[in-house]
Amino acid sequence: MRKRIKLLSVSVLTLVIFSGFYFFDNAESSSKGPAQPVRFSHRIHATDDQIPCEYCHSFVDVSPIPGIPSLKKCMGCHQHIVGRDVDYDFDGTTINIKSEIAKVRGYWERKEPIPWIKVNSMPGYVHFTHKRHIQRGFQCAQCHGDVASMNQVYPAERLNMGFCITCHTENAKDHEELAHLKDCLTCHY
């Protein structure tokens, strides 16, 4: 009897170890994003002020890289918009809108770029092009989540290969395109 239990436990153990690889490979995506040098709220800009994503990330449909707006672009509005001197609940932490905008103006006076922290990172060694996906008619939210409703931006999806492949497989028009979309050289070179 004791032996059979031992045997069972061993087999279970091996199973756990192997599936361990599996879970290790799609660990859950971290929910809350990193704290940025300026508490920039996408919600205020995209939802309240109704600014479309492409206004700031202007290269998204012409370049592989969507582009982070230059400080000049920020100042384009914030020359005039000083911000109301009110507190704002920024995902739990209370911030003062005016003082946050003041930070931006501070950077501008010092002619210093704002050192944003990258939120959505591709794994290395893959060549992703925003242009193609936008031109194909995908919404930003499909990969980045509903950024418009986020204050602090956080990665909504873990952008790993499984994520790409699932989408590529679902959206292939015909067999030939599927072959192209699942061809390694399409992204890895």
């Binding site: 290269f59 230059s70 770029p113 922290i117 990172s121 290395g124 060694y125 890895h188 070179y189």
Partner: protein, 982 residues
Amino acid sequence: MSQEKKGGLKRRDFLKIIGVAGGTAAVTGACSPPVEQIIPYVIPPEGIIPGVPNWYASTCRECPAGCGIVVKNREGRAIKVEGNPKNPINAGGSCALGQAMLQGLYNPDRIRSPLIKNDTGRMQPAGWENAETALVEKLQEAMQKGSGSNIVFLSGHTPGSMGNLIDEWMTAIGGRHLSYETYAFEPLTEANRIVFGIDKIPTYNIDKTKYLLSFGADFLETWVSPTLYTRQFSEMHSYKDKSMGKFVYIDPRASLTGVNADEWVSIKPGTEAILALGIASAIVSGGMSANGAGPFGGLLSRYTPDKVSSMTDVPEETIKEIAREFSSMQPSLAIGGGVATTTTKATETLVAVNILNYVAGNIGQTIDFGNTLTLSDVSSFDDISSLVESMSNGEVDVLFVYNVNPAFTLPKSMGFEDAIDKVPFVVSFSSFMDETTEKANLVMPDNTTLESWGDFIPNESVHGLIQPVMTPIFNTKSTGDVIISVTGQLKGFENTFSQKDFYDYLRNAWKEVWTSSTGGGDFDSFWDKALEDGGIYKTTSPVPVSVSGDLSGVEFSEPEFQGDGDFYFMAYPSYRYYDGRGANKPWLQELPDALTTGVWDSWVEINTETAEKLGIKLGDYVRIESPQGAIETQAYVYPGMRPDTVAVMIGEGHTSYGRYAKDRGVNPITILPVAKDALSGGFAWFTTKVNISKTGKYTPFVQTQYTTSEEDRPMVGTVALSSLVSGELEQEHGEHEEPDFYPPVKHSSQYRWGMAIDLQKCTGCGACITACYAENNIPFVGKELVAKRRDMAWLRIERYFEKTDNKAGFDTRFLPMLCQQCGNAPCEPVCPVFATYHNPEGLNGMVYNRCVGTRYCSNNCTYKVRKFNWFSYKFPEPLNWQLNPDVTVRDKGVMEKCTFCIQRINYAKDQAKDNGRKVLDGELQTACQQTCASGAIEFGNLLDEESKVSKLSHDERGYKVLQSINTQPSITYLKKVKWDKA
């Protein structure tokens, strides 16, 4: 595009941009990426979209040929140099030197700020203010003395605004401007003056000739305008519509140009003139001359073939044969004047060559005096030697050195180093700490060509523009700007230049160009157009020339050689280092020499029999002694040398000039005497005899190919011209399907990428290799690792010396070998993790980040074209700025190889998608194909019946290397054609 347009971003900004270009990340084992910052622009530079390349046209200054270039710029970094298709000189092609420009720009050994030599003799970094005030002081002093010629500006060949600026400046402050080129081809100019009364270097129309006869003119390597003549040569020497031109090379050494000839005729050093006259007289006496002997009848009658044969060691029948072919295969052309054959009788030789051309009726046909080169405007060697004299006599107070390195390129015996020590104040504008700059008291580093404004006029038809393709990396300043601002600070010269900087000066200069050339339109649009095209290009019309029979002062005799040695000593210019300026670029150091496949070093080439007699083996160290000194270097035993001649390449042997060049190889110039060509006064390179002896030291000769024979394997296909013309080959060529055990593979219906390489066109110059390094982030590994055969080149050029019955006794064959993208690839099925596989478009994919490094694929590769990352190779700052963000930088432990520039394929497909069409034929070029001046490589879509490549892949000369292994490569090679009839 104005300066702001493409400048704009500061160095620190774009260092950070590199962070954005994440594509360049290396393949490592890292699981979670570290916190990565994104640094946006403060003020975005206009015209730059991150992730989208910009192209800027400019002009190459690596040699006086003045080819046009276009430079690819990503996020403000120049990442690739390519030939400018619009420029009539190189028409899109480029040589290895041109490709390697970037490593000049990003060279870690660049001088990063002005340097002032302090009392202890050490160079100290300084700001531009101090540097300029220091210069102003010294200049003031010198001008007080005002001896008129005590200020000398020694520059390279700089025709155009920069040259004019220097001239103006020197005349203004009472100085002299000398322009010095290592290879000035003065005899060529002089000979033309004597025979045609025009002291210029014409443009030769090699492409229009049927029969080319070169007396030591290495036009594929360094002679006058290599890229231009490579293209023309391939035009004339390639097989099309059942005919092909013939090329005979006459030289004691079979240079790279020589081995590309159909016949290499080894000749007694210095007797080229006599041979030329011999051929001419044979033509005349044979009644084969188009326009008779003209004024030279008397002269020629003295050179009967038998007499000539005995004087030149060239068999009589060879002379007669050449004469027959030269006169019958019209239009023909004879050229000469290669550096390595420039004896004290160089001018006579070229006069004789001109006579030969005249006799065959080639004047005005294949020699175009309408489009002459500006190269003949450089100061004569006499001027240079007198300068050295006056320097050593202390008559020079201030010496400016700009774009030249005389301390390296002038013979030691000339005493330039001592002379320069006598000059109280030497100013160097060099970007590198070279031998001359070391002697300078003040270094004012110039921007490299890729960072500065300027223009360059190589010949009548081309007026090339130079524009900065990126903001200066270091604290350097354009010499033009320096001159203008310094002049502004000189008392009494505040208003010499009205312009605020050199850019301004240049635009003014071009206003004149504008009025003279087009006139119409407004200047700005003209200017922008010129910037876009890389300059303006005129078509010139040939000018008729008359021949003067007056050869007074010209007497044809054998030149005398100094020294009592047994061997003629030939110092030949390198097509990789030119006059040594290329030696600090790792790509060029690691580019295997086409003939020896040697790298990172120099060697002495010794004839096979001679070596046997002296008991010298490959790799033995040999001491070469001339009256002027001795050098020791490794021996390379080479059948393509005359038994009584030894040759050493110029370019290595730097005592300074950065980590990659310093203390590497030997500089043959050091043991040359100061000899002059009697008539032209130009420097005579080939004038000394040496003794050679084994030192007893031996180390294995580091090369990339250790075999010289094909070992009876079908590597390089060759076919006799006759069998082509007669159509024999066509019959036997018929393509047939190999039966296969498995059903055919399903491919994409859109594209099937393929390549065709014409071995008849390939000259083995290796520009493609360097282009591949540049495009694909291939690391250079250094001599020690190449010795272990760990060079990372994805593309190698195999060279074989096969015994044949031609005059040379051997036949040199080049085979560019890269991944064949096999349809039935042996490497694919053996990979346990699918890291390499067959993609729908017929490519042999290589997924670096999936590779675990079993290296089975390489073991099973029939062509051994896969390279493995034995270590993580480093690109010393700022060389890493050149890395192509579209290509993964491989890290240790993964296999890598050519994938037909997959990043370019994907880019082209992306562009095509934007315009809703398929990729057009010719729109997409691989890096190797793009740079190939001889157009040997063709690439495209095999499914498109009309594409050039699919036509070539069915060519009668087409074959696959090692076809019998049934790997079904996507690369079709076109057989090399052998002349077997006149």
